[in-house]
Amino acid sequence: MSTPSTRERLAPFRLQRAGVVYAFALILVVFTSAAAGTGRPFYLSALNSANILDQTAQVGILAVFMTICLISGNFDLSIGATGALAAGVTLTVINSGAGVLVALLLGLLTGIAMGLFNGVFVQYVGVNAFIVTLGTMTGIRGLLFILTDGRSIQTTDTGLAELLTGDWPVNLKVWAAVVGLVFVAVGVVSLRRERAGRVTDGQGYWYVIAGALLAAVSVIWFPTYWALSKQVWIFLAIVVIAWAVLKFTVVGRRLYAVGGNVEAARLSGIRVARYKVMPFVLNGLFAALVGILYASRFSAINPQALTGIELTVLAAAILGGTSLFGGAGNVLKSVIGALILFVLANGFGVLNLGANYQDLIKGVVIIGAATIYVLAEKRGGRKKLTASDVPAVTPSASISGPAEASGGPVVTGESDAGARAGSGSAARP
């Protein structure tokens, strides 16, 4: 129909869309220069960057699924309690002498069961998600107290720790360059599609720029030894899979539809209940995983563990621009939101900037981010096809006019004209 305008091409770069990325970059620059200026070691060293990722991993995993839940139009406060309960179940089973894998499985099943309970209550009984998960947050914690009689559970079995802790180091110089080049290739392909007259959201530029930057930087800068912990790898794998499913599959499309307008989605034949319950189940499952990861570090779980983590996770999702009303959100941005929170924590520690200020700064960052999104929405979101757009409308309409009149497809490729004539004629005899 029409090639994208410059405004459309640049849309992904606007503050409203990419603000969290800029904020993250800015914070990294500030800390890096602060570290350099005060004669401390390089802030983004292999050691410290691996550290930051490790610290972010658990909240990052939860942020991915919280984002999915928020996109579907719901809300889950029970993840911290679910994670702790799953860890408690896992350790109890290990202590009873069953194998680590059986224990792990039972722990994860516990999480699924809790998520299913949330989902069924919210979707089929119709209780508000906030209330249901507030209740399960408290109730599940109560179950854990009953299970543990209020004491920590420890295990002397080292199987779990061996399975889930430790590092899988990687030659970052090589791998980052490879990943960068893959990004460039993906970007070039999607840009060529745009050139072919297709309108996309202009993300090709993102891929090319980010990929080239990554490849270049990695060659001159990146270390050959990067000791990423196992949970970071799990985290990265989850992020990539979740992002791809949301972006490229029918499931993702329908999830956004259900969150964006549940009634329109239902009347379009989408099985809404599935898309409402599934995020809760995923949330339960991965909260359990996070709980077990947490417990594997200490070979122990305290019944108060992970209390309040759901609020950190929500903060990450909000920083990433996820709508609390459903239908909008991006797991990558939520993960960057999580990274911001942990870079702040890490930076204040490493640079010795006075840990007392940390939470205040975090609070300011959260409200600041939300303010930027709201203001940008107010300015940019209210665009109707009026005034300033009219000049843009008229030329394109006049271009497509003759083509319409002649009954032919406009620019959109004669390739499938035959197939269309078939489907079109059924509707318009």
């Binding site: 029409s2 239908g327 497809p409 318009r428």
Partner: protein, 519 residues
């Protein structure tokens, strides 16, 4: 015009300064719609004034002007002889006008007592004193709802009484009621009428009573005004009127000469495409059976709240509590919406923004929403190329005016947005279309496009059920018309053998016999 348009001053002026006089009021909306043209209306003290008109005649606009919710574009309002500027809802309220819209603005979580004195709840809530006031108030209009009951628990008729009490408590001398009896049982209607009559007699309160139920208008009112296409075509004493005359006034002569359906009759051998059998849903749909044959367009005629939309929802499976069977091409289909969509049903819902479109999404993603899986590689990965192609096709076929298919639907005008809702269904496998007010809020050009599209559906051998408040439109597009009232099908007519007046009468609950016809 055949009927003599009664001059307004033919009814003898009862008093020099009537309570409310609307003089030459016009209303033109920013989008160019002219809702009222040079309308006069005079409400005498202590009178019950009926206001009738077909859907879209301008009744609501006139109500809103009196209530201060709209400003008139021209003309003036006189309150007890004095010109007034009612540009905010507070001004008429302070003067003593209470307006009750169809939706009763009470707080359902508060008690009757608290609702009645809602306007006075500044300062301390002095229960004893208010209770005394409440009793006095109830004494005045002869009915006493339980003051401690929560308004949300009351039946609709009693809520209406609470609203009247609230208006009286605020000192109203003119109470305007828009369709107060729409959802009322007969006993409740009588309750309301008794209260209205009593207030009029004992205190001289005036009422404006706006209703689709012409029999009730004739029963209750002293004077009736008729609006048609934004003009006041008649004002006169009720006792001179009959139901036939009222219907004629509402419809106007031009419409009886209206061209009938341009639809070819259905071939006698055409097979049923869609069969709905004994659909029932508590409080909404009462034993409705509809059979639509290939190439047939069935119109559902009914007033607002008659259950016509609910019938479409029941057929589509969107009403979870509905029982009954739906068959497509003779095969029974499951109860859920997704099953019915797969069987070939398509619904264009009444409220396109709430039910039809994902507002933040572009045209292309909305267009392919029901069909995205079929346009996907391996049924899993949506193929943006194919989706753009389909959206481009839809934009061209349906003449959607938009710069590109990536425009968000929230930026489209009503008519263009409605075309996108149609686009969702026309390229898939739908064979039975359920259309709920498809031309509501759509400009004239788009309306013609949409009606032609509907005829196209039928000519291609599909089944269509269409609901419209504009009976003229039903007559122009349907072969058969079913009249709906109270969730039931109360009459069936061939479009060729009926006219707007008869449909209006049937929908309003007047017997066909009274119009000299036989059912």
């Amino acid at each position: 015009m055949g009927e003599p348009t009664t001059p307004l001053n033919s009814s003898p002026p009862v008093e020099k300064n009537p309570l409310l006089a609307v003089n030459g009021v016009s209303k033109r909306f920013p989008n160019g719609t002219v809702a009222l043209r040079d309308v006069d209306l005079t409400i005498a003290r202590g009178s019950i004034h009926g206001l009738v008109g077909a859907n879209g005649a301008g009744k609501s606009t006139l109500f809103k002007i009196i209530a201060g919710a709209h400003e008139p574009s021209a003309g003036e309002l006189l309150w007890q002889g004095e010109p007034v500027d009612w540009s905010t809802p507070a001004a008429p309220r302070a003067a003593g006008v209470a307006t009750m819209y169809q939706h009763i603005p009470l707080v359902p979580t508060l008690s009757v007592l608290e609702n009645v004195f809602l306007g006075e709840m500044a300062g301390w809530f002095r229960r004893g004193r208010l209770m005394a006031q409440y009793d006095a108030l109830c004494e005045r209009f002869g009915y006493r709802p339980d003051p401690n009951a929560l308004v949300g628990d009351l039946p609709i008729g009693e809520r209406q009484m609470v609203a009247v009490a609230q208006a009286l408590a605020a000192g109203a001398t003119l109470i305007c009621m828009d369709e107060p009896t729409a959802s009322m049982a007969r006993a409740e209607v009588e309750l309301l009428f008794r209260a209205v009559n009593r207030l009029r007699e004992t205190e001289g309160t005036s009422f404006v009573f706006c209703s689709h139920f012409l029999d009730q208008v004739l029963e209750l009112t002293d004077e009736v005004s008729v609006l048609r296409d934004g003009r006041m075509v008649f004002t006169g004493p009720t006792h001179e009127l009959t139901e036939e005359r009222l219907v004629d006034l509402m419809v106007g002569r031009k419409l009886s000469a209206m061209e009938h359906t341009r639809m070819e009759p259905v071939a006698p051998e055409a097979k049923p495409v869609l069969e709905a059998i004994s659909l029932r849903s508590p409080g909404k749909v009462d034993d409705v059976s509809i059979t639509v044959r290939a190439g047939e367009v069935i119109g559902l005629a009914g007033m607002l709240g008659s259950g016509r939309s609910e019938i479409l929802e029941a057929i589509f499976g969107a009403d979870d509590r509905c029982s009954g069977t739906v068959r497509v091409h003779g095969k029974a289909v499951g109860k859920r919406v997704d099953q019915r969509v797969r069987a070939g049903l398509a619904l264009v819902p009444e409220d396109r923004n709430r039910q039809g479109l994902v507002g933040g999404w572009e045209i292309w993603r909305n267009t392919t929403l029901p069909d995205v899986q079929k346009l996907s590689r391996r049924k899993m990965l949506p193929d943006a190329e194919a989706e753009y192609a389909r959206a481009d096709q839809a934009v061209a076929d349906l003449k959607v005016r938009t710069p590109s298919v990536t425009t968000p639907v929230s930026a489209l005008s009503g008519g263009n947005a409605q075309k996108v809702v149609f686009a969702k269904w026309i390229y898939g496998d739908a064979c039975a279309y359920l259309l709920d007010e498809p031309t509501a809020g759509v400009d004239v050009g788009a309306k013609a496009d949409i009606l032609e599209l509907v005829r196209g559906f039928a000519r291609a051998g599909n089944a269509v059920v269409i609901v419209s408040s504009e009976f003229e439109e039903l007559l122009a597009v349907a072969q058969r018309i079913l009249v709906v009232r109270g969730g039931r099908i109360v009459a069936e007519r061939n479009a060729k053998d009926t006219d707007e007046a008869e449909l209006l009468a049937l929908s309003s609950g007047l017997g066909a016999n009274e119009l000299g016809r036989t059912g």
